[in-house]
């Protein structure tokens, strides 16, 4: 069996193990959060009512029994119905998937479009003595500062400027392309500084290497040296970071969706946790786990593609 086939076969096995571990951990963790019967019964704390609700939800069964039933149903992709709305939990999660993926794709596009050129520019110019060097160093300081600003604050500042003051972009809901701009910029704001700084250092190092000196000696212009020779090598080191950032995007998306009223999975997760709606929490986490796993696989694939040393190792 060749290596590619073996690797391909390992992917579903790894996913299955990851899902088993995640769902098991989640099953026990959410049950530590509280008693859903207390939420569902409202202000009634009548023990008979509470017992009836627990019996109806299967919460009166021993924990291992609940766990086995849950696992068996999860294998059949049946995560049950929401305890609050009665709707199918997995359908509720999948209904929110498209807006979340839209936002994630927009954020990644904006993030990479800004970070890569900016990182290359900073790496190429931060040590120069002229005006460009001063601009680059100022930008460097600003990016360092931006890295410390919480995403929540960035979001509110963007809304205030672009929606309230200048009225260029909407700040609420999912009304198509323009609604994406501010949430995508918010996510970019907490992803970009790190990537820009890593790229800048990598480009700066690459520009000191022999192959870039050789390119210059062969008469290549500085732009060509930076973008055709230094940047591709600098990106080797940054690809792993990009992969991690994509996988961790879910953290930023929860906050962003809440502030911008974006109807994605992050908000559904937050609401379901507050209501102790276990089936929906489990469905959202299941979908998110698969997404993160896929993002990691893509990042691995990208690293193998761009780095011949890993590809041929």
């Amino acid at each position: 069996m060749n290596e590619t086939l073996r690797r391909a076969l390992r992917i579903p096995l790894n996913l299955a193990l990851l899902l088993l571990a995640t769902l098991t951990l989640l099953f026990f963790l959410v049950r530590l959060a509280g008693d859903p019967a207390l939420i569902l019964s409202g202000e009634s704390s009548d023990p008979a009512v509470l017992a009836d609700i627990r019996r109806h939800l299967g919460l009166d069964q021993p924990l291992y029994h609940q766990y086995l039933i849950f696992l068996w149903q999860a294998i059949q992709l049946d995560l049950g119905a929401s305890w609050v709305s009665g709707q199918d939990a997995l359908s509720l999660a999948l209904e929110r998937l498209a807006p979340t993926l839209t936002l994630a794709a927009a954020a990644i596009a904006v993030h990479l479009s800004l970070s890569i050129p900016l990182g290359a520019f900073l790496g190429a110019t931060r040590s120069s003595t002229g005006t460009l060097g001063r601009v680059a160093r100022s930008l460097d300081g600003a990016i360092l500062l931006a890295q410390g600003i919480p995403g929540y604050v960035v979001a509110l500042m963007l809304i205030q400027w672009f929606a309230v003051e200048w009225q260029i972009f909407p700040s609420t809901g999912n009304d198509g392309a323009t609604s994406l701009v501010l949430p995508a910029l918010t996510i970019t704001a907490f992803l970009a500084p790190k990537l820009i700084r890593v790229l800048a250092v990598n480009v700066q190092d690459a520009l000191q290497d022999d192959y870039t000196m050789m390119a210059r000696a062969q008469g290549a212009g500085e732009t060509t040296v930076v973008f055709r020779h230094a940047l591709p090598n600098a990106l080797l080191g940054a690809t792993a970071l990009i992969g991690t950032q994509i996988a961790n995007l879910v953290n930023g998306i929860i906050i962003t969706e809440t502030i911008f009223g974006w109807p994605g999975m992050g908000r559904l997760l937050l609401d379901s946790v507050l209501l102790l709606d276990f089936p929906v929490v489990q469905a959202v986490v299941l979908v998110t786990t698969i997404l993160v796993f896929m993002a990691n696989q893509l990042a691995d694939y990208a690293i193998r593609r761009v780095d011949p040393r890993i590809r041929h190792a």
Partner: protein, 540 residues
């Protein structure tokens, strides 16, 4: 004005192309780059429904966009919710049998009148010539179906049954527009409770069942739900409704963050923003946003958990803490006037509320003297479980703690998240001396909701005062309104001299609006049938 929302699929293709061209210069990551741009293009293309809807909404001048704090998680499942957030949106398409107006009075709605036949049997006369928005007639069958399904059928374990109408045992149709509702035990509040109980259209409900009904509800109200999406509900006018609306449609958008709701109304993206924060009032008024403050049936208090040997067992200590807090300043400065000082265990409009009753006055000297008299010359140390949800909550509690510290009551605070706090409230499992409590008296403006956590019958009650408990229990079983009032006033009189809580303030609901007229708010509910747009929004 730049109108980027006019971007369509064609523009998307051009953007994606240039994005890809740009990515080509960055040779090694073009895969990720291209995938993200193409993915974005595909997903925004698939998302064209909401773009079209938005265009439609902005073209029609009389569609009102509303920034809502939260849409009901149970959608329009009439068994799943009472109070907020359902009352924010459901009355736009559902009607109940009764209605509670701004004065707290229960008035006819789909029921034109009612009579109590026996302690446990009530007869309701139903409104004639009312139809559901799908054309089905509203009659006794619709009410009977709601009782059989929402209370005794699929919703038997849901909130409306367990929390609002636990006593209803059956419905008996007398004729097409008369129905008897029977309760298992006497319930003087039944007409009030029915203000949150919505009849079902029999034919449609039988056809679609409860799950589909929750996503595609049919009611007799002024609007028809066109689409219930994640985070958004679109409605169009129901011109055949018995209370036809002035607006052509409503477009509810869920915006959980109060600052974002404020920014949405400031920028003109919505014409109405619900539940704004008190600190925004002055600023928004200066920006020509109109503000409507309406009584919100919520009462903020600190509840004493009294155990043997605790300093709080002393009546003087509890009185001292009531005298120590400057509630007027809290309302004036921290709430920007969006509230009133609490004088009793009820809110304006609730049954038995006494307008003449005065709050325990702010008097730090007297508070210190009372502590001295109780035998605590060096003050006392207490521990409090605190629930903080908003910035306003934080500011109010900081002021309260500072006032208490000034007279010698040092309070150590344990903040906790809502679910833990709520579980403690329902089980009575309090470990410390005090807990913060904002009691919601909606939807019924029911004063007993505040008392129910303090009665001696409640397991693990934080503080059992047998005399007050007996008065409240007696009131709950009394039908005569005058007698109910007298019993309540006696309980309140007792509470003024031997307080089980520190009453702080009543709250107000703050609604911001622009370019709208005829905004009326009754007991949290906006009269959606009356509201209409004044002019086209400048932003649109």
């Amino acid at each position: 004005m730049l109108r980027l929302e006019r971007l369509g699929t064609r523009h998307g293709i051009v953007i994606a192309f240039w994005g890809y061209r740009l990515s080509r210069s960055v040779v090694q990551v073009r895969g990720i780059f291209m995938a993200s741009w193409v993915g974005l293009l595909l997903l925004t293309s698939c998302d064209s429904n909401s773009i079209e809807t938005q265009r439609g909404a902005s073209v029609d001048e009389n569609i009102i966009r509303i920034a809502s704090r939260r849409l009901p998680p149970g959608f329009a499942n009439p068994a799943a919710h009472t109070g907020q957030p359902a009352v924010d949106i459901w009355p736009a398409f559902f009607d109940a049998l009764t209605y509670i107006n701004a004065d707290g009075d229960v008035i006819p709605w789909l029921a034109t009148g009612w009579t109590q036949l026996t302690d446990t049997r009530w007869r309701f006369e139903l409104r004639n010539n009312v139809r559901f928005s799908n054309g089905e007639p509203f009659d006794a069958d619709a009410v009977a179906l709601a009782v059989n399904e929402i209370l005794l059928g699929y919703g038997a374990r849901d909130l409306v049954r367990t929390s609002l109408l636990p006593t209803v045992s059956s419905a008996e149709i007398i004729d097409s527009h008369t129905i008897d509702i029977v309760t298992a035990e006497p319930d003087p509040l039944l007409p009030k409770r029915l203000s949150q109980f919505y009849p079902l259209p029999p034919r449609y409900f039988a056809e679609v069942g409860p799950k589909t009904f929750a996503r595609k509800p049919i009611g007799t109200g002024p609007f028809i739900v066109e689409r219930w999406e994640a985070g958004r509900v679109l409605m169009r006018a129901n011109r055949q409704s018995w209370r036809p609306p002035a607006a052509a449609g409503l477009d509810f958008i869920e915006i959980p963050e109060p600052i974002a709701r404020r920014q949405a109304i400031e920028s003109g993206q919505v014409q109405l923003a619900m539940y704004l924060a008190p600190e925004d009032i002055t600023d928004l008024k200066q920006k020509d946003i109109e503000i409507r403050q309406a009584a919100e049936p919520r009462l903020r208090m600190l509840v004493f958990v009294v155990r043997e040997g605790s300093p709080l067992a002393s009546r003087e200590v509890r009185l001292a803490m009531n005298h120590a807090i400057d509630k007027d300043s809290i309302v004036k400065y921290l709430l920007s006037g969006a509230g009133v000082v609490a004088t009793q265990m009820g809110v304006r409009g609730s049954e038995g509320f006494d307008d003449t009753r005065q709050a325990i006055p702010y008097d730090p000297q007297k508070a210190r003297a009372l502590l001295l008299k109780a035998g605590y010359p060096k003050g006392i140390d207490l521990e409090m479980d605190l629930l903080v949800v908003t910035n306003t909550d934080r500011a109010v509690f900081e002021a309260i703690l500072a006032d208490l510290r000034d007279v010698g009551v040092r309070v150590k605070v344990n903040t906790m998240e809502f679910e833990r706090w709520r579980a403690k409230l329902l089980t009575g499992d309090w470990q410390h001396d005090l807990f913060s409590f904002t009691v919601a008296l909606d939807p019924l403006l029911d004063i007993t909701k505040a008392w129910q956590y303090l009665t001696c019958e409640r397991p693990n009650t934080p503080f059992c005062q047998p005399e007050i408990s007996a008065l409240i229990d007696q009131r709950a079983r009394t039908f005569d309104l005058g007698e109910r009032d007298r019993l309540l006033q006696r309980a309140h009189d007792q509470m003024m001299v031997d307080p089980p809580v520190v009453l702080v303030h009543e709250m107000e609901q703050i609604t911001g609006y622009r370019d709208l007229e005829n905004l009326q708010v009754d007991n949290l509910m906006i009269r959606w049938d009356q509201i209409r747009k004044r002019t086209r929004s400048a932003y649109e």
